[in-house]
Amino acid sequence: MMNKDEGIPPGWNYNPATWGQRLPIIGLAAVGFGIATYLSLYQLHVFPTIWEPFFGNGSQKVLNSGVSKLLPVPDGVLGALGYLSDAASGAIGGTRRWKTMPWIVILFGLLVGPLGMISILLVILQPVLYHAWCTLCLCSAAISVIMIGPAMDEMLASLQYMRRVKDSEVSLWKAFWGYKSVQGKVI
């Protein structure tokens, strides 16, 4: 069947795991990684100043704030690691990975989706707690939010596949990890 060759999930009219679908998200994650790396290098005192075109000392306030230091490493470092895992989990696997490796697709969805919403929390905290805005932090948050929508369709395809696995009483565990022994048993 044509659907099999092209990796289009049943009941869909396109394949959410093609490179055309995934590369833009990986690209956004790479830009996010660049921004977060720059911010964390400032937080780690590698760079003495931070680029802030609009909000005066806003970036300084935000990037040296209590919230940014809540964890053992500055929040910029975590952001950079987050974007790196977004890019990696977006890149791993072939164009039928929604079926052949559900674990990576679901991990990708969780990294981009729920973790992306943390950036919204940080956007809220900037003005409410510190009366300051940080331009590059806002750019990073915008990238995180833009990535969510296009990443979710692939996760939906994987979750629907897992549903069909459950209905056909094939091992969910083996299907989730993409065991060769269960490949092809469920469409």
Partner: protein, 127 residues
């Protein structure tokens, strides 16, 4: 999708309006919290697979209609601003827009009974 672009702009407007309207702290905090939420949910719903997320904005938008009275806003401009944005966002939430792609029954097909993707899978020959 145009409706959700406008909702995203309305969310961003809430984020900047305290500075433009010189709002007091209560109004500013409320707008600084609700604005990013509305903008984020609107942006997520730009894509067809997540268009349903536009409805998440009903809650923060409904709060904008109540907030001036619950939080006791004293400034008429701020009352009008929050209530107008809230009302617009609620109306635009219901504009679904064009969805061309098929998603095997969508998100509810993960748990719903006899979902479309399973029906179509049953019709496809096995290898």
């Amino acid at each position: 999708m145009w409706a959700q672009i406008i909702n995203a702009i309305l969310g961003i407007w809430l984020m900047v309006s305290p500075a433009i309207l010189a709002s007091d702290k209560t109004v500013a905090n409320n707008d600084h919290i609700i604005g990013p939420l509305i903008a984020a949910f609107a942006v997520i719903s730009w894509w067809e697979a997540t268009r349903v997320v536009r409805l998440y904005n009903l809650l923060p938008a409904a709060w904008l209609l109540l907030a001036p009275w619950v939080l006791g806003y004293s400034d008429t401009t701020a009352i009008l601003n929050d209530m107008a944005v809230g009302l617009l966002v609620i109306i635009l939430c219901f504009v679904k827009g064009k969805v061309d792609a098929r998603f095997g029954g969508g998100w509810s097909a993960i748990w719903g009974k006899d979902p479309i993707h399973a029906q179509e899978a049953a019709r496809q020959p096995r290898v």
